[in-house]
Symmetry: C2
Subunit: 122 residues, 2 copies
């Protein structure tokens, strides 16, 4: 069956998101989900055993703490965190991001805890 | 070996691109390449047998002609063309796009011709 083909407006979809640290699915291609999220404050240290993850900053400034340094990603910039790398995202002020992740990705990486959320379409 | 982790500025990378219809690779995650391209004029009708493709418009307006209608994608919008769907991208004025494609994707789909270009990192 052919999937519906349509344009997706990032700002309109972001308007539907209230909660921080709860990525929503807005597209799928091949084995990858396109997600949008609003982030504020500090997440948790985690890693993904077998999945690389891309963060594209739509609005604001995202800091991704690595074990040896901080990565600062501004508007119109992206970074890819390779599998196995421990990171901890941090946003002093609210940040809007587009994420690319394999469909198998769990947001908290190799652990499941109160910050774990299931992917949901918006 | 760990890949270098760094932020990529879309505007700075786009400044390096002169030619139209010649996507350049700016990132890789899992089996996917992140590419940037400047488009102007009409491409060719093509399809990808087994790969979905995402177009995110960074600047300008991209029209993707489908066999039954035109898809109009503005700044801050994306669309995913599923595998097997015939399409013909068209840009009246220059458009800047981010593309997501499996590493196996050939830009002209199932045919190779003078519009076929090999992926190159910038």
């Amino acid at each position: 069956m052919e999937k519906a083909i349509h344009e997706v407006n990032l700002a309109n979809k972001l308007d539907l998101i209230q909660e921080h640290w709860s990525p929503k699915i807005v597209g799928e291609l091949n084995d990858t989900y396109v997600k949008l999220a609003k982030l504020k404050g500090e997440f948790i240290w985690h890693h993904h055993e077998s999945e690389d993850e891309l963060f594209l900053v739509i609005k604001g400034v995202l800091v991704i703490k690595l074990r040896d340094r901080d990565l600062v990603i501004g508007e119109g910039e992206f970074a890819i965190i390779p599998k196995g790398v421990e990171d901890c995202p941090f946003a002093e002020d609210e940040v809007h991001v587009m994420l690319l992740e394999p469909k198998s990705t769990v947001n908290t990486g190799e652990v499941q805890n109160e910050r774990t959320v299931a992917g949901q379409w918006i």
